[in-house]
């Protein structure tokens, strides 16, 4: 099973500079664990206390995973996953 995961600039320190890596998993949670096994430290940038981090956006085939069940979103061979940190900020 191969799922392409596109990695944003700020997380490429975990992938030796690669913009895209392959991963495996029947759900997003499983995929993230698989990524962690090859790119140690990346999981903590995506998940906090068992939940997807609020300001990290993850998309499966161009849909925000928040609409697909979050960490339980189901994945299949050939899916494309994109990770994009939120662009956000505020007065304080």
């Amino acid at each position: 099973m191969a799922i392409e995961v596109r990695i944003p600039t700020i997380l490429r320190t975990y992938t030796s500079g690669e913009k895209a890596v392959n991963g495996d998993g029947g759900t997003l949670a499983a995929l993230i664990d698989d990524l962690e096994s090859n790119h140690v430290g990346i999981k903590d940038r995506l998940i906090d206390n068992g939940d997807l981090r609020r300001f990290v956006n993850i998309y499966v085939n161009d849909e925000d995973v928040r609409f697909l069940g979050g960490l339980e979103a189901e994945l299949k061979d050939g899916d494309q996953v994109v990770v994009l940190p939120a662009v956000a900020g505020g007065a304080r």
């Binding site: 956006n57 925000d64 994009l84 662009v87 956000a88 900020g89 505020g90 007065a91 304080r92």
Partner: protein, 145 residues
């Protein structure tokens, strides 16, 4: 240092004034690795707030796919503060996720959406550290090559 064209500078200021009292936000894209802010893209502040901004997650994906197809990257990420100084806040620093970008802050606290000068400052935010930089506003970016 940030080098930016007068037209882009004016457009960012106009956007900030137009969206006041909500925070305005957007980016200026340029060819990857060029440090040339060539293409202004105003974004909708999905938070619609006077004290917070966030690009809608679907808008964000479309933006990055478009830049990727054009071999561009975000050279400037800008937003406005509407009642505080044009300086990155704690939240701005915590959420700064483009290490190569110039973070431009505009403050409309003095004149709001009316005529009058704004504060316009530029910073690098890398690994939690803020470094202010000079801004050079030019008639036009120098031709490439």
């Amino acid at each position: 240092m940030l080098t930016i064209s007068r037209a882009t500078y004016d457009a960012i200021v106009a956007h900030a004034k137009r969206d006041h009292p909500d925070e305005a936000c957007g980016i200026v894209a340029g060819p990857e690795g060029s440090d040339r802010p060539e293409r202004l893209i105003e974004m909708v502040n999905a938070a619609g707030s006077p004290t917070f901004y966030e690009f809608d997650s679907t808008d964000l994906l479309h933006l990055y796919k478009e830049m990727d197809a054009r071999d561009e990257e975000p050279v400037v990420v800008y937003h406005s503060h509407t009642a505080t100084e044009a300086y990155p806040s704690v939240t701005d620093v915590k959420l700064a996720s483009e290490p190569n970008a110039h973070y431009v802050l505009v403050s409309t606290r003095e004149h709001g959406d009316a005529e009058g000068p704004v504060e316009f400052r530029s910073f690098r935010i890398v690994d939690g550290e803020i470094t202010e930089e000079e801004i050079s506003v030019v008639a036009a970016l120098s031709p490439v090559g």
